[in-house]
Amino acid sequence: MDWSSYYPVLVATDATKPTPKEGPNADTRYSANWAPLMTKQVEVADIGCGYGGLLFALSPRLPDQLILGLEIRTSVTEFVQEKVKALRSQHASTGDFQNVSCIRANTMKFLPNFFSKSQLSKIFLCFPDPQFKARKHKARIVSTSLNSEYAFVMRPGGKVYTITDVEDLHYWMVEHFDAHRSFERVSEDELEADECVEVMKSETEEGKKVERNRGPKHVAVFRRLEDPPWP
């Protein structure tokens, strides 16, 4: 992946060591396939980020980490990208919001194209589309197989944050992460000490909407466990 246009100030100044542009296997014999080296890698992913409320709230709170929103709708992605641009130029003097960006992606299919093994420390799944009909459940962004993919791109100790106002979906997500051997549920006590939980509740667009309608907010957080030793 070429991240240079997403996080321009983080392009390594010593860019003599380029990295492959498309995945780890691009044919680097051709310079067109080189991407500039970055000083940092994305560590926090907001999957289905919508209009990006969470991204902009996290940016000052996690100043040393690169945060990326992934969104499937082109127009919404463009909106977020424009907003990133605007915020960056407004804050040019302080250099704020350089650590946040948004990319258009169908994460149900292409997550491993964006992140390598153990790259992420946090994944946010905030108010995912509920896909109410049973027939549509396979389109939910939490499933046994997708959880294996989330586990792949996450480092042990990293956390998946989920929040929804749909009770059925909450139980669905809890059930699937609980059943997955790469994850364990994080305790209530730990949630209280984690500021990301509060931010996720109050700063997402959906979170605000639910607030206005006095709807419920179901939160569940899961920790990526170490892989078992080989038998």
Partner: protein, 493 residues
């Protein structure tokens, strides 16, 4: 009409039960043949209306019940279920056939007789099946993306779970399906059977088209892996049982679907093919793409143009920018080098193309121009499957449009007259004589060309309707359910 043989599997067992047989699928018939003289030893059909004289020992009280079941299940069209995939256990005592009624059928072939011993309806039709080296576990993968492991020989209901106090695979379908398929939503007996089946199976998932089981030694201990490929261009390497939930890595680089995978024995190389016009040569232990082996477009194009039945799948776009290559088969075949050593070549077939290309496994990573590396074998009709017996290569072809035999045997050797990378391919007279019996056998099947086409040529349908995403070189498409909705029947309906 003679129905082509569309799946071939060799059965070889050493030691006590030494044998050398060939298992062939021909529409809804399964045939066991001897490699000694090519005679048909046993036959089975999914067609309940056909009584098989060649099926001794399959009688017994159970038969009636089974037959009724078959009738009940049937396929929508009323035709009898057809075999879509075959696998044989390493010790050669059992075979598994997937039929297009979503059934996994296990056969006992111990006494050289095809006896169907079980029939399990899967939630989705399996598209790849394998019996693991333990001779006791089936891995089955469906197009929707689920990979199941299930016992070859089902034990009494639930006893397996009770026996092993702890569920070794907590990642079961229990969770995945509970909300959508409760007892309330499952109406038909068939659905309930499928549901019960999935509740018992342990699974992991990978969106997949091809499935390989690989092992390698690390620090003196053997590790097993499951390698799957899918229509989203990914080749995924996961751990084998029991830690199938752990993904070890992805071989990324294809830009079209991947339909076939082939492990090169004695190396860490994996060859992949599908909708791209090149084969991927990977080191599957490091996930690194070692070489993109360009397929001979020119040769394929000239044949594709002359084939009457060129894919109905082709979109306007495809037609415009010339041909779309769909790799429909990758096989390893033996050949003899000029000093008499046994070597391995990879054989490549493309859908609806009457050619087979061979490339030596030793030149898979060669820096030589790719076009020089392939030896082209012209066939009377498109190849469907390839199987090796001793040092001969048997190719089944779609003979419906030609006068040719359905099965043809060849011997491959190194060309000692200095044709560089080329291989010499000669008809194998001895084997061709042996194949006469199978080639002449008239197998009663009521089927029309169109339905046979559908059975034989499914790979091209994986090609996606590429929207703007390829244009922009981005990963994604607007509708996350795009591939999911067409992937098969729903369990809850």
């Amino acid at each position: 009409m003679q129905h082509p043989y569309h799946c071939l599997v060799p059965i070889t067992a050493q030691g006590d039960g030494a044998k050398s047989l060939l298992l062939l699928a021909c529409g809804s018939n399964l045939i066991l043949a001897s490699t000694m003289n090519g005679s048909i030893i046993s036959m089975w059909t999914s067609d309940p209306g056909v009584l098989l004289a060649t099926e001794p020992g399959s009688g017994g009280g159970d038969e009636d019940g089974r037959r009724k079941k078959r009738q009940r299940i049937g396929t929508k069209s009323g035709a009898s279920p057809r075999i879509v995939k075959l696998a044989v256990s390493p010790h050669g005592q059992h075979a598994v056939a997937v039929t297009d009624d979503k059934c996994l059928r296990v056969f006992d072939i111990k006494n050289d007789v095809l006896t169907e011993v079980s029939q399990r309806t899967m939630p989705k039709r399996p598209c790849a099946v394998k019996i693991l080296p333990d001779n006791a576990t089936i891995l089955s993968a469906d197009k929707f993306g689920d990979v199941y492991s299930l016992p070859l020989l089902p034990s009494e209901p639930d006893s397996s779970h009770a026996a092993s106090g702890e569920d070794p695979f907590p990642e079961t379908q229990k969770a995945a399906f509970k909300p959508s398929a409760t007892n309330l939503t499952v109406h038909t007996k068939r659905n309930r059977k499928a549901l019960e089946a999935q509740l018992k199976q342990k699974s992991f998932t990978a969106k997949k088209e091809a499935l390989k089981y690989a092992t390698r030694e690390v620090d003196g201990r053997e590790r097993s892996y499951i390698i799957t490929a899918d229509r989203d261009e990914h080749i995924r390497v996961s751990r084998g049982l029991p830690h199938t939930h752990v993904i070890e890595g992805y071989c990324l680089g294809h830009s079209e679907y991947v339909s076939k995978l082939c492990l090169v024995p004695g190396t860490d190389l994996l060859v992949s093919g599908g909708g791209d016009d090149w084969l991927g040569v990977w080191n599957w232990t490091t996930f690194a793409l070692r070489h993109k082996l360009q397929l001979p477009r020119g040769a394929i194009a000239s044949y594709a143009a002359s084939t009457s039945a060129v894919a109905s799948e082709r979109t306007v776009d495809d037609a415009k920018d010339t041909l779309a290559i769909n790799v429909s088969g990758l096989w390893t075949v033996p050949y003899m080098d000029s000093s008499g050593n046994h070597e391995i070549a990879v054989a490549v077939g493309c859908e609806r193309t009457p050619l087979l290309f061979l490339v030596r496994s030793s030149s898979l990573q060669s820096s030589e121009a790719d076009s020089l590396l392939f030896t082209k074998l012209e066939l009377p009709a498109p190849p469907l499957d390839v199987v090796c017996s001793e040092n001969s290569v048997i190719i089944s072809i779609d003979n419906r449009q030609s006068e040719s035999e359905r099965l043809k045997a060849y011997k491959i050797s190194e060309d000692d007259v200095g044709l560089g990378y080329q291989l010499r391919i000669e008809p194998d007279a001895a084997w061709n004589t042996r194949l006469k019996c199978l080639n002449d056998a008239e197998q009663e099947q009521h089927c029309d060309d169109e339905s046979v086409d559908e059975l034989l040529y499914s790979v091209a349908t994986l090609r996606k309707r590429r929207a703007w995403s390829s244009k922009q070189g981005e990963y994604g498409d607007e509708d996350p359910t795009n591939d999911l909705t067409e992937a098969g029947d729903d369990i809850a309906e």
